[in-house]
């Protein structure tokens, strides 16, 4: 029978996310994922809203009231920002898929641009919405 080897302690794993510096690259990427997950939740809400609308005004009213409540509005504002960030980020990804915009300078310019564009679009959407009679 083979003698059992001495159990030596396993080698430690060097830290990764605990010490790696957050950079525009990784931060925007994880934000694209987080906003995507948020929007998946919004998709569920969208279906609930449509089903409520299809089933008549008695079903629609409470759903609409929840959305129009102050909590609902805060969530909707966040969802709008998530939507525009994911949309702009998604377009940035589609451009990358054509193998364009990979130089570091372009990566950083496009990165900051989508952050700025998302903020502007979110504010614009809510301003227009307020003007339309919200």
């Amino acid at each position: 029978m083979m003698p059992s080897p001495t159990i030596t302690r396993p080698r430690p794993l060097s830290p990764n996310i605990q010490i790696y510096r957050p950079q525009l690259t990784s931060v925007l990427s994880i934000l694209n994922r987080i906003t995507g997950i948020i929007l998946s939740g919004c998709a569920v809400v969208l279906v609930v809203w449509l089903v409520a609308a299809a089933w008549g005004p008695h079903a629609y009213a409470p759903v609409q009231a929840a959305i129009a409540s102050w909590i609902g509005r805060i969530v909707l504002f966040g969802a709008t920002f998530a939507f525009f960030l994911h949309l702009c980020g998604g377009i940035r990804h589609l451009v990358w898929d054509t193998v364009h915009g990979f130089e570091l300078r372009s990566i950083y310019i496009s990165g900051w641009s989508i952050v700025a564009a998302s903020v502007v679009l979110t504010v614009a959407a809510w301003v227009v919405s307020a003007l339309m009679g919200g």
């Binding site: 030596t8 302690r9 396993p10 080698r11 430690p12 794993l13 060097s14 830290p15 990764n16 996310i17 605990q18 010490i19 790696y20 510096r21 957050p22 950079q23 525009l24 690259t25 990784s26 990427s29 994880i30 994922r33 990804h93 990358w96 898929d97 054509t98 193998v99 990979f102 130089e103 570091l104 300078r105 990566i107 950083y108 310019i109 900051w112």
Partner: protein, 279 residues
């Protein structure tokens, strides 16, 4: 704000680390403990504090973070010079890989102030205070700053990084035009330091199956070499939800490459070739 080349160190930063606890999700053998504060050198006027990850496999202890005071007037300008100074003057057990000291061998790759780079091409004057030095992220540590690169090199071997041909060998060279030769520019220069792979979050979570940017950049180097005749086989071996498609274009790789190469772009080229061959 706008980074033009990978050697630029970000001056301003919102966060030095992600806002999670220091030992978050860390297995017990990897927990980093507080370490020794080594004595400052006598009579030094210009010093800099370095916090360096230490691990001694023979001591039975967990890794720790030691603090050193380096006399900047007594040592060269690069981080590698500081490490060598510490080894010569303060603690001779400090262990790290190094060879060429000019950024071409890839030995001294490590995590400096939160990003992966070569110690021999990073200026001490570009560092924060205190400077923090960890080994390359997410790798098993042999000792101090020396990671075990076995798995990464195994992934490299798995892509068969050599010329594969079917036609019989010509009398002299396999011919290649100047334009064809330019296609491997930006890819053949990789020194396999693995800064990129070690900085890729997707490789952190799926490194057992995802090949990572260094290996995929080399895969592209062979795919785009006009003399190679095994494109079909190479693409078949890469077309896998994990080997290639765990890349989500995070682009930490391109940001951190100490040779200014672009693994993110190489991977995008592979994905484009994948589509082109079926449409």
């Amino acid at each position: 704000m706008i980074i033009k080349s990978s050697d630029q160190v970000s001056r301003a930063t919102l966060l030095k680390r992600f806002p999670i606890p220091r030992n978050f999700g860390v297995a017990s053998e990897s927990r980093i403990e507080r370490g020794k504060a080594w004595p400052a050198p006598d009579g030094a006027t210009r010093t800099k504090i370095f916090e360096i990850y230490r691990y001694n496999p023979d001591s039975g202890e967990n890794p720790r973070l030691d603090t050193f005071d380096v006399d900047l007037d007594d040592c060269g300008p690069m981080v590698l010079d500081a490490l060598i100074w510490i080894k010569n003057k303060v603690d001779s057990t400090l262990t790290f890989r190094r060879s060429c000291r000019e950024g071409i061998c890839g030995s001294c790759s490590m995590n400096i102030d939160g990003t992966n780079w070569l110690a021999c091409t990073r200026f001490i004057s570009d560092l924060a205070t205190p400077a923090t030095i960890y080994p390359l992220a997410n790798l098993r540590i042999v000792k101090d700053l020396v990671p075990d690169l076995t798995h990464l090199f195994a992934q490299y071997a798995a892509i068969e990084p050599w010329l594969k041909t079917k036609t019989t060998e010509p009398e002299r060279e396999r011919l290649q035009s100047a334009r064809e030769r330019r296609k491997i520019d930006g890819y053949y220069e990789c020194i396999l330091c693995f800064c990129c792979t070690s900085g890729c979050p997707s490789h952190w979570w799926n490194g057992d199956r995802f090949f990572g940017p260094a290996v995929l950049l080399q895969a592209w180097r062979w795919l785009t070499d006009s003399r190679d005749e095994a494109k079909e086989e190479r693409l078949d071996n890469l077309e896998d939800p994990f080997r290639l498609y765990r890349c989500h274009t995070i682009l930490n790789c391109t940001r951190t490459c100490p040779k200014g190469l672009n693994p993110g772009k190489a991977i995008a080229e592979i994905k484009k070739m994948m589509i082109e061959r079926r449409s």
